[in-house]
């Protein structure tokens, strides 16, 4: 008998997929079976940019392309396969940048409302981060109140989106050499929105039809994401909600409770989630839940909103992207509240099979068939109360089919750049020195950022976990965000004990000395900006070259699916980091474009892309790159320093 193939390496996920099937409910895994990806579109060989098309220019399978055949691969307007693939790729970057940056704009609006005293219930929680931003942005501190400083910061941040000329301000944080390189290559972003709009213009029918030029604009736009939109979102969220510090949390569907009102907040923007976290503890609202027969209120998170409230409140994570519908399948989820991004429309259909209420809260992200309670930061507590009451009122409506998986795992989250710096030296000697020293002496081979989504075309979580295990076994310290972080947390890699069990001897010894896991949770996907800052601090601390591209570091998104992931990967690459993606690669339909991204970019930016679907082979590529950088730095043969005792010294003196 052929053994049934598991859709996930996570038992809770497989259990809920089976339950959905027996309940007659179709979920993402079923849809992926019946809907195969289009082989032409998935490699960037289909253009839909005008109504003379769509034009499909597929590569002939299994044969080396002849110049004649290549000539024939053109759209009606004459666009080459290169132009079509580059336009497709650039638009993905634009969309990803727009998503992160529109998130940041909304956060900035809330930030300004808080500073002006127009958003009751919110406050400036982290004065230190506020002061840090004031120093970054040249805002006067003196004896001014936090609110006065915050208004100036908010107004400056808001202008970054519509800035038309000059350079976006956070670029100044990057290593000096990197800033020079960006200027030399002409990819310094002028303003966040401007770069996105320019991609949309250039990729319109009949505008930029030179793939190298299109890809240059893709780099510029992605930098406006990583060093612009994403960084603004992360920094302002830290000021309002607190800079993350290590916190113990739990993850997986097992955190749902049969006897409590279960409410999941899913999406990316933390403003509503923060307020839900506060209101869910209000004795009156808890009392109301008890009056409906529940033992209490169990607030949990999903996807990146979950990462945000986990890092700051220790609120449990129900799971990552591919588990969103499965939380409903448990039969105990009373409401799933969504904000923006990565929310499957399928939620509304799955909710039809059970009693769950799907509540949209943002006018930019409505779903047919869902209930809508519009979030407004000026009246956040009241709206949060309304949402929680809706969930409580739905508690008595649970029907028969209930099963909550047992799996839940501990994790430590909250490793912001600030906290990593503090952990390695304390208040008086905060520093990246111990990290750099341990890289130089070889105990730590290098650092990898493993990030990104889940993808229904890959066994759920498998590539993340396999890749990260391979990396830490080879003494590579791993920094994670997003759904990738959640996958590894479920696999038990985000507790300090994981160092002894999974990490190589060198990495394990450093983790044990500092008391950290070998895999660090840095937050949500906008928090990939924290990885850029951490890499910059490694450069500034010295001994590992002058630029991010000199560091023995690499990036990866082994189960990527969203356009945001492409934008993130592109700003990693544009910042000098070798980055490997799994699943598929959206420009494989053009050798020219793919070679340019995979090879020529290294010459231009010091970082380049790679594609490798096998996570172990991908990890090996990352390790090879790390070793190449170690060699260039002359630390490839680094050994532990020998500590001489008195006798050895005397022998040396005598010699």
């Amino acid at each position: 008998m052929v053994e049934k193939e598991n859709k996930s390496i996570d038992q809770a996920t497989n259990e809920m997929i089976e339950k959905a099937a027996s309940d007659g409910c179709s979920v993402v895994f079923d849809r992926a079976e019946s809907m195969k990806p289009c082989p032409i579109g998935s490699v960037g060989s289909c253009c839909q940019n005008c109504s003379m098309g769509p034009c499909r220019v597929p590569l002939t399978k299994g044969k080396e392309e002849t110049p004649e055949a290549k000539k024939k691969r053109r759209g009606v307007c004459g666009a080459t396969a290169e132009t079509i693939a580059a336009r497709y790729f650039a638009r993905m970057v634009a969309s990803g940048t727009a998503a992160h940056s529109d998130h940041a704009r909304k956060v900035t609006e809330t930030f300004l409302a808080v500073a002006r005293g127009e958003a009751p219930g919110y406050q400036i929680k982290d004065e230190q981060k506020l002061l840090q931003l004031a120093l970054d942005l040249g805002v006067e501190i003196s004896e001014r109140s936090n609110e006065e400083i915050a208004i100036d910061i908010g107004e400056i941040a808001m202008k970054e989106f519509g800035r038309q000329e000059g350079e976006i301000l956070f670029l100044k944080r990057a290593p000096l050499k990197r800033q020079e390189l960006w200027r030399k290559q002409g990819v310094t972003p002028r303003g966040i929105d401007r770069e996105v709009v320019e991609i949309m213009h250039r990729t319109h029918m009949g505008v930029d039809q030179e793939y190298k030029s299109l890809l240059k604009q893709a780099v510029r736009t992605s930098l406006a994401d990583g060093w612009g939109g994403s960084m603004i979102a992360t920094e302002l969220q830290d000021v309002m909600f607190g800079t993350p510090a290590p916190v113990l949390g739990r993850i997986n569907l097992g955190i749902l409770r049969e006897d409590e009102v279960n409410l999941i907040i899913h999406g990316h923007e933390p403003q509503l989630a923060e307020m839900l976290a506060v209101v869910a503890q209000d004795p009156q609202i808890v009392e109301y839940a008890i009056s409906k027969g529940a033992k209490g209120i169990n607030l949990a998170g999903m996807c990146c909103t979950a990462n945000e409230i986990l890092m700051r409140h220790g609120i449990p994570l129900a799971g990552n992207f591919l588990q969103q519908e499965l939380a409903i399948v448990t039969g105990v989820l009373d409401a799933i509240v969504v904000d923006v991004q990565c929310i499957m429309q399928g939620l509304a259909d799955v909710a039809q099979c059970y009693h769950t209420k799907v509540i949209t809260t943002d006018s930019r992200a409505r779903i047919e068939g869902a209930m809508h309670i519009e979030f407004d930061e000026h009246n956040a507590a009241e709206i949060a109360r309304d949402i929680i009451r809706t969930a409580i009122d739905n508690f008595p409506n649970r029907s028969g089919s209930i099963r909550v998986p047992k799996q839940e795992t501990d994790l430590i989250a909250g490793f912001s750049h600030e906290t990593i710096n503090y952990l390695m030296g304390g208040l008086f000697r905060a520093s990246y020195r111990p990290l750099n020293d341990n890289i130089i002496n070889g105990r730590i081979r290098g650092v990898a950022g493993v990030v990104g989504c889940n993808n229904a075309r890959v066994t759920h979580d498998s590539a993340h976990v396999a890749m990260v295990k391979e990396l830490i076994k080879n003494d590579v310290l791993v920094l994670q965000t997003g759904c990738s972080a959640m996958a590894c947390a479920k696999a038990g890699l985000m507790v300090p004990e994981a160092a002894a069990e999974y990490a190589g001897e060198g990495l394990a010894s450093v983790c044990e000395a500092i008391g950290i896991p070998p895999v660090l949770h840095l937050g949500s996907c906008v928090d990939n900006a924290r990885i850029l800052v951490a890499a910059t601090m490694m450069v500034k601390d010295g001994g590992l070259g002058d630029d991010v591209s000199d560091l023995p570091v690499a990036g990866a998104a082994p189960e990527w699916m969203s356009e945001k992931a492409i934008s993130i990967g592109q700003y990693f690459v544009g910042s000098g980091i070798f980055t490997v993606f799994g699943v598929n690669w959206p420009t494989l339909g053009s050798k020219g474009v793919t070679d340019f991204l995979f090879k020529d970019f290294e010459e231009m930016y010091g970082g380049m892309w790679a594609f490798e679907a096998d996570p172990i082979k991908a990890a090996q590529l990352m390790i090879e790159h790390i070793d190449k950088k170690r060699k260039a730095l002359g630390i490839d043969k680094a050994r532990d320093r020998i500590l001489y005792d008195m006798e050895a010294r005397r022998e040396l003196d005598a010699a």
């Binding site: 120093l135 909250g414 450069v539």
Partner: protein, 72 residues
């Protein structure tokens, strides 16, 4: 942060007063686990920390690897 002054006996000398530990005793647990930013209370302390702890970005007399070569 308040500094502790402790008495220590030094060989061949009277008892002397010295600056005590600047770390906290024991291991943090429960609520305090991982919380460190709350230790800095005044604005002055926070700014001081930025100048020392984040010296490569905000310090005046600490120079990172690149600032030495190329004054910012």
């Amino acid at each position: 942060m308040e500094y502790k002054i402790v008495e220590r006996s030094a060989p061949g000398r009277e008892k002397v007063e010295v600056l005590g530990e600047t770390y906290e005793e024991g291991k943090p647990d429960s609520e305090d686990l991982g919380r460190w930013r709350q230790k800095l209370t005044s604005r002055e302390e926070k700014l001081k920390y930025l100048q020392t702890g984040e010296r490569y970005l905000y310090g005046k007399d600490w120079y990172g690897s690149e600032k030495r070569k190329n004054p910012a």
